[in-house]
Amino acid sequence: MKYAPNARVIRVMCSGRVDPQFVLDAFALGADGVLIGGCHPGDCHYMEGNYKCLRRFLLLRRVLRELGIEEERLRLEWISASEGEKVRAVINDMTETIRGLGPLRLEAPEREAVEVEAS
């Protein structure tokens, strides 16, 4: 299976394991977008993991919007283990969307103090 080389895969046991801290950390460390892939509703081995993920995603998206991070940079897709074609299509599509938005460029605040000193 070939898809855009921009994606870095982080495996977790369940989309319910995706702590919002992981998403923020990814952005803080330089990711321009975060894609969460979960099992389809009703398919959760742990009963509710993907629903918990959905609720966290919906709330986190609002927080990100307020923090100036475009909605398209965080995406949740239901993709089952047998849907390889969908993985490819979603990653390629999201890569194109992010390319259109450009890099996130979160500046470290401490740099600002140094700049002021210099000026």
Binding site: D19, V23, L24, K52, L67, P109
Partner: protein
């Protein structure tokens, strides 16, 4: 630890804060007499007339501790924090603003330009027909006047200097302060970098703990003014956003005893890296629906998620502030 002759010397200082932390020291009431018996307060601008030059003339490391409240928002605050760091064996972040940014840290949703524009040009109580904005340096009648630089971003102390200990709270309670001072005097401090309060969630010391249901589900989210609050029942079980599950204990659930939900001023426990993300996660977990529209409806009852989840901790969060590029584009 090296002890100079006489009583150990300490300093109190304030940066970007409201003055409530100074009030908290006064709230020690008669117990403050025990403190001044054991310690010499050599610098405390809000109460004593010592100047910056007095601190500069002290030998480096001659203060046992500096208690600094408030976040760092201006160049002057940054200079004072660096100065006190040099003069002190221990630097203690006192209160939520110093520890995690505090309420002034919500200004990280804006920057200098947008804040100045609002305060000096737009605000209804400002009369400023010439549109004068604060300048760092200005010449007038042959004299040069200066003001500190106002930074775009509010920072907690540990993003500016090394901090040895943290006393949490908005404001810290007398009990938490006394515990910290006693530990300092007895030389019984925990490992450096510790927060001087219990490392467990507030729910564990909440008097309403037994009324917290095994499985909490929020069918509606209510704000305190919208409901009659049952004084004996877990606030989350009543649909009120109480941040106790993610907040560090130590305040003895003061707000809850006043029948108001916890807003998270003691910050996170040691295992949490981003307070807001953690409580957001907890609230989403107990949102009582699996249907997307219904989830959206329930969660829309939180009008200001950043102000709610990051009320005290935005500058210490993983993202620290609103993206400056988004501000420049006028988005968000």
């Amino acid at each position: 630890m090296r002890q100079p002759a006489g009583k150990p010397k300490v300093a109190f200082y304030w940066c970007a804060s409201c003055g409530g932390c100074e009030e908290a020291v006064v709230d020690l009431a008669e117990k403050i007499l025990d403190v001044v018996q054991a310690l010499d307060i050599v610098f405390w601008p809000v109460a004593l007339d010592f100047k910056r030059a007095d601190v500069e003339s002290m030998p480096d490391g001659s203060l046992l501790a500096s208690f600094i409240n408030g976040a760092v928002r201006t160049s002057e605050q940054e200079e004072m924090v660096l100065l006190l760091r040099r003069k002190s064996q221990l630097l203690i972040a006192f209160g939520a603003c110093a520890q995690i940014g505090g309420v002034p840290g919500l200004a990280n949703l804006w920057d200098r330009e947008s804040i100045f524009h609002r305060i000096y040009l737009e605000s209804p109580t400002t009369v400023n027909p010439e549109g004068v904005l604060p300048q760092v340096r200005i010449q007038e009648d042959g004299r040069e006047l200066s003001l500190p630089v106002f930074y775009d971003t509010v920072r907690p102390l540990d993003q500016v200097v090394e901090v040895d200990y943290y006393i949490p709270g908005c404001a810290p309670t007398p009990k938490v302060i006394l515990h910290a001072v006693q530990a300092l005097l007895r030389g019984e401090l925990p490992p450096r970098g510790s927060v001087l309060a219990p490392d467990r969630a507030l729910c564990e010391e909440c008097p309403r703990r037994d009324t917290k249901p095994e499985k909490l589900l929020l069918a509606e989210i209510r704000r305190p003014h919208e409901v009659f609050i049952d004084e004996g029942k877990c606030l989350l079980a009543q649909g009120l956003l109480c941040l106790g599950p993610a907040t560090r204990a130590g305040c003895e659930a003061l707000c809850i005893q006043g029948n108001m939900p916890c807003t998270g001023c003691f910050g996170p426990t040691s295992r949490v890296r981003d307070f807001g993300a953690k409580i957001l996660s907890a609230v989403a977990s107990i949102t009582g629906s699996n249907d997307e529209q219904e989830i959206e409806r329930i969660l829309s009852q939180i009008p200001d998620p950043v102000g709610t989840f990051y009320r005290y901790s935005l500058p210490a969060s993983l993202l620290r502030r609103r993206r400056r590029e988004a501000l420049a584009e006028g988005k968000g």
